[in-house]
């Protein structure tokens, strides 16, 4: 029963304006990037600064190409990506489960509160030496660091959402005779979907912080390793290349979460 909607001339004009605005914003976004890259290239090309210190887009491309030829490019990317994604998934799953347990039992929540506050405030990097001793120098240590950085944030984010469930809707369900499982599955979980998505978004950032920090402390491979190694041997091209690849990967991961959001929350509900 979809009608063909016809708009007034004024509205058509308004829509046209909106579209033009979108195009302009997009143009400027790309333009700013191009200008920055161009400027950066010029700085190096005309010797305004020492390209050894500033690197340049063309040198980054060359570095990435040589990593690719050596066959190590995708190896390093793969290592870091795997650590980040595994750590991210564990932090999200474990964090949400802990939040659920704390929602379920108010006493448990009260007992856990001071621990959560302290763990949240603790700079996780302080645990670096411990992690090396416990988990060795492989990927396990880095995944653990990633989980550590994301976990408490996930718990606090989800618990906040669960506890904030609308009181009147709770009353409504209880008046229907709902038990706790039903309240959880019919109301608390579905009404926390938006919070879950925003927790995922926050955690994308947390996971990259965790994995790169972990690789700084201890690693034999990965983008964080390349950055540290590049810094130590003064190969700034390598540092910049790894950093640029990181940017792209983090953006890609964030974009996947946005796709998930579109799938999970239909626009008609709003």
């Amino acid at each position: 029963m979809k009608h063909q909607i016809t708009y007034s001339r004024e509205h058509a004009l308004f829509l046209k304006k909106c579209r033009r605005h979108t195009v302009i914003v997009q143009l400027f976004r790309v333009g700013v990037l191009a200008a920055l890259l161009g400027l950066w290239e010029c700085v190096a090309a005309f010797g305004w600064a020492d390209p050894f210190l500033t690197s340049s887009p063309s040198r980054i491309c060359a570095t990435v190409a040589s990593l690719y030829r050596e066959g190590t490019l995708f190896y390093h990317i793969g290592v870091t990506l795997a650590e980040t994604i595994v750590g991210f998934l564990i932090a999200v799953a474990l964090g949400t489960s802990i939040a659920l347990a704390l929602w379920w039992s108010e006493s448990l929540r009260q007992v856990a509160e001071p621990y959560i506050v302290v763990l949240n405030a603790l700079p996780k990097i302080a645990l670096g030496p411990l992690i090396i001793i416990w988990f060795g120098t492989g990927s396990n240590a880095i995944v653990f660091m990633t989980v550590l950085v994301g976990l408490i944030v996930s718990v606090m984010h989800m618990l906040g959402a669960f506890v904030a469930t609308d009181k009147n809707k709770l009353l409504l369900l209880r008046s229907m005779g709902a038990n706790k499982i039903q309240i959880l599955t019919k109301l608390v979980l579905p009404s926390s979907r938006a919070a879950f998505i925003s927790m995922l978004k926050v955690n994308v950032g947390m996971a990259w912080i965790g994995s790169i920090m972990g690789e700084y402390i201890v690693s034999k491979a990965g983008l964080g390793y390349l950055i540290v190694y590049g810094g130590q041997v003064f190969k700034l091209d390598l540092v910049m290349s790894a950093t640029c690849i990181l940017c792209l990967l983090a953006a890609g991961m964030y974009f996947l979460v946005v796709l998930l959001e579109k799938k999970l929350v239909k626009s008609a509900e709003r």
């Binding site: 008046s175 039903q182 579905p190 008609a268 509900e269």
Partner: protein, 246 residues
């Protein structure tokens, strides 16, 4: 005379919190007969919502007794509380799912209720796409879904603007009368109580107790808009106003 379906016998209720205790009801006695439409008015914060929770068995009284002859209740709140992530139809089925009555037969009954009361075209829409009046009607049909014996209505119109409110009020009252339900309506709006109810109970300030009870004398006239035009309407209004503020 029809049988009593709900009875409060000298009921008292105290809320305990860390900050102190609140006496929400005291020596509260009244009863509701089958098929009756009872309105309860009282100053805000006097314990009206508490009274409904007691009736539905969500709270047990500190003193006295609440007897409900094993009847089933349907609860309707101030706002519609439709779940935004469910379609209207899925919202209507919610009580069926909760009470494990989700059979094809029950679904058919709910759908026919929705059709009868003008929601048929909106079943696959989300609540956000409905008007305030439509949403409140959907909330009522959700309440009726499990075919409860008694409807407990907690200021169900007070979140609507005046114009919508008069219409929705008439609408909802009409449905309740046609379905032959017993109803206990809480309101702080005197004219709403007079225009809808068979009997009006007046509560005191907190702790709530019944200070007056009146049978409305509008004969068979149940249309709230017509009742509002009747001569005796303003008489009732003055009397109840005095009792509420006296």
């Amino acid at each position: 005379m029809k049988r009593e379906i709900l009875r409060f016998d000298d009921v008292g209720l105290t809320y305990h919190t860390r900050r102190g205790e609140t006496r929400a009801a005291e020596h509260l006695s009244f009863s509701v007969r089958e098929g009756e439409f009872v309105a309860i008015i009282g100053p805000s914060g006097c314990g009206k919502t508490t009274l409904l929770s007691l009736a539905a068995g969500l709270l047990s009284p500190s003193e006295g007794k609440v007897e409900n002859a094993g009847v089933s209740f349907g609860y309707m709140l101030q706002r519609d509380e439709l779940f935004a992530w469910r379609t209207v139809e899925k919202n209507l089925f919610l009580p069926l799912e909760i009470k494990k009555m989700d059979t094809a037969e029950a679904r058919k009954r709910v759908r026919s209720l929705a059709e009868k009361y003008g929601l048929a075209d909106f079943l696959q829409n989300y609540p956000a796409q409905l008007s305030g009046g439509m949403r409140q009607r959907a909330a009522l049909i959700r309440t009726l879904a499990t075919d409860p014996d008694v409807l407990l209505l907690d200021e169900p119109f007070s979140a609507l603007d005046y114009q919508t409110r008069l219409n929705v009020c008439r609408d909802v009252a009409g449905i309740i009368r046609r379905e032959g339900k017993t109803a206990l309506l809480i309101t702080h709006d005197i004219s709403e109580a007079i225009s809808l109810a068979d009997r009006v109970l007046v509560l005191s300030a907190r702790p709530a107790k019944v200070v007056a009870a009146h049978e409305m004398d509008f004969g068979e006239e149940n249309d709230p808009l017509i009742r509002r035009e009747k001569k005796n309407f303003s008489g009732w209004f003055e009397l109840l106003w005095k009792e509420l503020n006296g």
